[in-house]
Subunit: 306 residues, 2 copies
């Protein structure tokens, strides 16, 4: 399996490393980590055991990678204006493109440039961050849920999920990409934004009753909007939210990616996690008032997308 | 006129200095600035012209001040657990107590300890901050609106307003303290909290359309709640909000007190500016959903009152 990783942040490096360790031929498009990875390889510090890939195929230019069997997209969505041009050199007629990016709008962007049947989307439940160049830290979880964007070929989807699972990344194939995207949003929308805005981590928000209630209320807003999308079966709000909260209670002072982005002065993924979901909700008459207010508060001082 | 200033932050120092320069016998209860004021006096850096009071009567102990004609209260409301004990030594049968503190609940606290007829409340439109010890910076505005808490003696209220005005502090006597408190809240609630939470100043919030709309929406929530309190005449929401926004547009990157409190690591005045107004709104069936969400976001990580 020849894999090209576009967007080699913590997520891209971690999943790329797992697939490579599992035997895949992995090619990484790199910026910050190019020199370090090319000289000393990639060190993975993982809760499941550290490992070191001494040989890593890194590139600055995607045309040097050539066509691959699987493009794994981990690009930050605020860089999506470059997404298609970065992916294009890797795509042949049989190539699968799997985007594990946050939020909504990523598949649509790719579907406008490539054959929609080649596209898959997925959501990653991964606690990870980058360390020094040449390192990635895996702090917890790691499983993936993925689904076809336009194809009805569930077997293909299951094969890809199996490939991840064999490489040590628990992976589930879903027949409803829209649902798994919205279920992930129900976590990302409250926690990413509230943590970024308040500077408090997941545990701090949950241990303070007024923000715990706010998180639950925002999850309910997202689930209501999700259930007006064309899901194959509706999300059971009460059970789902209780489950999300208990999963989150088990996280030990986790800092979501948007909180880290803000702390480190990077742009925020507001378009994919807030603006597009708010638009999709409005289109079906499901207002998300608290999500909207959070988005407004996060957006001040951010440069416009592109 | 013997005046005692309780709570000598930027507001207490500025108004105390103006009254003293106008001829009043002003006594300041001090903590941080005690040494500086006692040795080198008080320097006022004002948009209306700087001045220096070389002799300043500063105290660490309110019992040393003795009874006064007017107690001017500028204490931060998060220190209200000490309010009554600090004020008590200054109060005789004829003493007037004027609280210029932020938000709601201050008059009620004083009314439980002193004769309600001796109480006045006021709101200050003052852009000021403290500089080095012994200094205060007056950046703009400065006018006061005040009203009786329980007394019907409007002439007394007007006399006090005239005393401020003669000392160079434009001051208006109102016959509706509840209304002037809520009108001030309609500014304080959106701007203090949003600036503290986002780290952006008044100008930055107003120049970004999504937060400008949010500010206006929150003002509308506050006005709706205000108009269900027992006001003598209702606030005309549209005109009032347009006026508030245009006044705020004229402020040049002003940082509200709560933003400065947060930047400097002090506690926030959440009880007076958010919790009590939210309670008063709930009591009359006027929910303030956006105000409530802002309060929740501000409260995480704050210690509880008292």
């Amino acid at each position: 399996l020849k894999v090209g990783v576009i967007g080699s942040g913590a997520l891209g490096l971690y999943y790329g490393a797992m697939l490579q360790r599992g035997g895949a031929d992995v090619h990484y498009l790199l910026r910050r980590d190019y020199v370090a990875l090319s000289s000393t390889g990639l060190k993975v510090f993982s809760v499941n055991g550290n490992f070191h890939l001494e040989q890593v195929k890194g590139y600055r230019d995607p045309t040097k990678i050539g066509q691959v069997d699987l493009v794994l997209v981990g690009l930050k969505t605020f860089a999506n204006h470059s997404l298609v041009e970065l992916v294009r050199p890797l795509v042949g007629p049989e190539t699968l493109i799997l985007t594990l990016q946050n939020g909504l709008g990523n598949e649509e962007l790719l579907a406008a440039a490539f054959r929609p049947q080649q596209l898959l989307g997925g959501v990653a439940f991964l606690c990870s961050n980058r360390g020094e160049p040449g390192e990635v830290h895996h702090l917890g979880e790691g499983r993936i849920r993925l689904g076809n964007y336009a194809s009805a070929d569930l077997a293909r989807c299951q094969n890809l999920a199996d490939a991840f699972s064999r490489a040590g990344v628990p992976c589930e194939a879903s027949d409803d990409l829209i649902r798994i995207r919205w279920e992930k949003l129900a976590w990302n929308i409250p926690f990413n934004g509230l943590c970024a805005l308040t500077g408090k981590d997941v545990t701090e928000l949950l241990e303070h009753a007024p923000t715990r209630e706010l998180v639950a209320d925002m999850m309910a807003e997202v689930v209501r909007a999700a259930n007006r999308q064309s899901l194959k079966s509706p999300i059971d709000a009460a059970n789902f939210i209780e489950h999300m909260l208990s999963v989150s209670d088990a996280m030990d002072h986790y800092k979501p990616s948007m909180m880290i982005d803000r702390l480190e002065g990077r742009r925020l993924e507001l378009e994919a996690i807030y603006a597009i979901p708010l638009q999709r909700a409005r289109e079906v008459g499901a207002s998300m008032a608290q999500v909207d207010m959070l988005h407004r508060c996060l957006s001040v001082g951010e440069t416009d997308p592109r």
